[in-house]
Subunit: 199 residues, 2 copies
């Protein structure tokens, strides 16, 4: 129900077509709200029907035509109403955390490469954030309201990545320790453990 509002924010920051929105949702906005092009097109049609946004056909040469949407008055009003509603607690789906706990019932060593992969991914994302901050906010002393708020959200992303990076290092240290000194002590790994539980 909130994809509408994420799209509205994006269109207020900059009008664009469904395709352009889909790409933004792969990049900046997508860091805290994901959507596929299918969802976006479907919701855009509904929003246009409800008068939240206005569409304009734009012919391009060398490329297919596109429909450029921009936020309309009713959309802005809907956004204001939504802003005043309470935010329900986020529903978390942290698969890696589940797997880490699951590793106790199989082989912790099997997780190491996957955790390393994630660690590297988060390190790369942190670098991208920091680079984007340099590029988009070169002078932090003269920002307007929209930029101030974009920047405080970006700071959140940066801190999240830093924290995640540190935690994944912690996880790796723990996994290595378990693999080193506890070669199958209590419940652990492989077919032996599996068969033992299969009473």
């Amino acid at each position: 129900m909130a994809l509408e509002h994420a799209i509205l924010v994006s269109l207020l920051e900059q009008p664009g077509s469904g395709y352009e929105l889909a790409r933004r949702f792969d990049r900046s906005i997508g860091r805290f709200w994901t959507a596929t092009h299918q969802q976006i097109y479907r919701v855009l049609r509904r929003m246009e029907a409800d008068g939240w946004i206005a569409a304009e056909e734009v012919a391009q040469d060398g490329r297919p035509d596109k429909k450029v949407y921009s936020a309309a008055g009713p959309g802005r009003a809907a956004l204001a109403d939504w802003l005043r509603e309470p935010v329900e607690p986020e529903t978390v789906r942290h698969e890696l955390a589940v797997k880490i706990r699951a590793a106790a019932f199989d082989d912790p060593a099997a997780l190491i490469s996957e955790v390393e992969r994630h660690r590297d991914g988060h390190a790369a994302l942190l670098a991208r954030y920091l680079h984007g901050e340099q590029r988009d906010f070169p002078d932090l002393t003269s920002l307007d309201t929209a930029q101030e708020l974009q920047h405080v959200v970006l700071r959140g992303g940066i801190e999240y990545e830093r924290m995640t990076l540190a935690w994944l290092d912690d996880v790796l240290t723990t996994l290595h320790r378990l693999v080193a000194d506890g070669t199958s002590p209590d419940d652990a790994p492989g077919d032996a453990g599996r068969a033992a539980a299969n009473r």
Copy 2:
């Protein structure tokens, strides 16, 4: 597709009924994987049909009967296979972050109380985590594999809450600053701004 596996982990850590699982998903496991009792009952039936888990009817006095599930051999094997599959990047839905950026097109002051509410909620959750750590892990020098892994995940939760708390304070400082010195400078609030965008 991963709820099965979260349930398996929970049943391996401790067998239980659908109802008991639903309550765990409101508490410990629920911090990184949410599910309603409807999902849980539906998936439990499927898992039992697939032989992943075994059910045992347990009569209770003063209470309705319950079906206690525990992980079976095929479930353990399925878990081992799943552990070796790559984790897809998490799909994020961070509504508060969207609202913070949305506030630029309405009144930033309207968000303050909501951000404070979240701040207090995260502070309370952090306190719960720290209390639970004291209770469940009194001696960090003698943990088995399962406990080590549970604890490293808990550490992640604690660090996440600490980071979020600090960020929300940052957000509040920013909002207060915007409200104080920029009373409607660029684009900002209310019906005036709304009407202006309604060309």
